[in-house]
Symmetry: C2
Subunit: 127 residues, 2 copies
Amino acid sequence: MTSSIDDELWSAIADPSRRRVLDLLIHHGEATASSLAAKVPFSRQAVSKHLLVLEGVGLVRRRKQGREVRYRVIPDQLGAVTEIMDRLSNEWSQRLATIKRLAEEGRGDASNAGAVNDPNTGRAIAR
Amino acid sequence: MTSSIDDELWSAIADPSRRRVLDLLIHHGEATASSLAAKVPFSRQAVSKHLLVLEGVGLVRRRKQGREVRYRVIPDQLGAVTEIMDRLSNEWSQRLATIKRLAEEGRGDASNAGAVNDPNTGRAIAR
DNA sequence: AAAAATGTGCAACCATAGCTTGCACTTTTG
DNA sequence: CAAAAGTGCAAGCTATGGTTGCACATTTTT
């Protein structure tokens, strides 16, 4: 089952702002919402919400240290993201190949009624 | 310049439903909004809006045929998407590598103040 | 120890995106 | 000509990404 976990992971990293926050966090090792907010074009609260989402999918973990909350990236889930991206990347390559082939040979109208894959995971979908 | 064209392309593709519509269209060669809507869990109007967006970024082109409007995928932009996905995929691999390395050697706190890349394109960002 | 500063969390509010339903309009078809 | 099929347009709902304002807790300064 393709599960909705991938869906959540995807929506978590699909947003550019969130990706930017995560990126900063990766290169920063560990940081607070405030410090991250200083390097990004939106408010601290926005950063906070993004971190909450990232934490929700296990990409990030918080550690309360006195008055501040420090966040850091968790490698495991980051690996899951990498896999998803890999899969999707291949997916699109195939799509491109398919469409190009169809465009060249047959005068590209309907022809291929092939398998449809899940747009999130790229795996075969139940029908 | 990383341009906002990539941004638009990205947001066009980031949505799973839209990806699904595009996918169906690819495997179908050419189709109307209605016929596509029959194979998807949301309304014809929703499909229509997605097609409008896809057309907006040049991924799809319409051709009016009497009472119906037929859509088909355009290879060129699909190639652009493939490139973006490739770039992003590599991006994430690198991130994973970085974070893993940091986690193993140094007790992963701040250390790498390296370059930050654009979350959309993966290319270096102006600062 | 009091006061000022720093880091958070919470709530109200806005705009936009994805969907839906309802309805009017045009082109086929029976 | 009337019913059917394919669209387009508009109103309305919900979720999401942002913002601002304010109260609270923990340091730091004087």
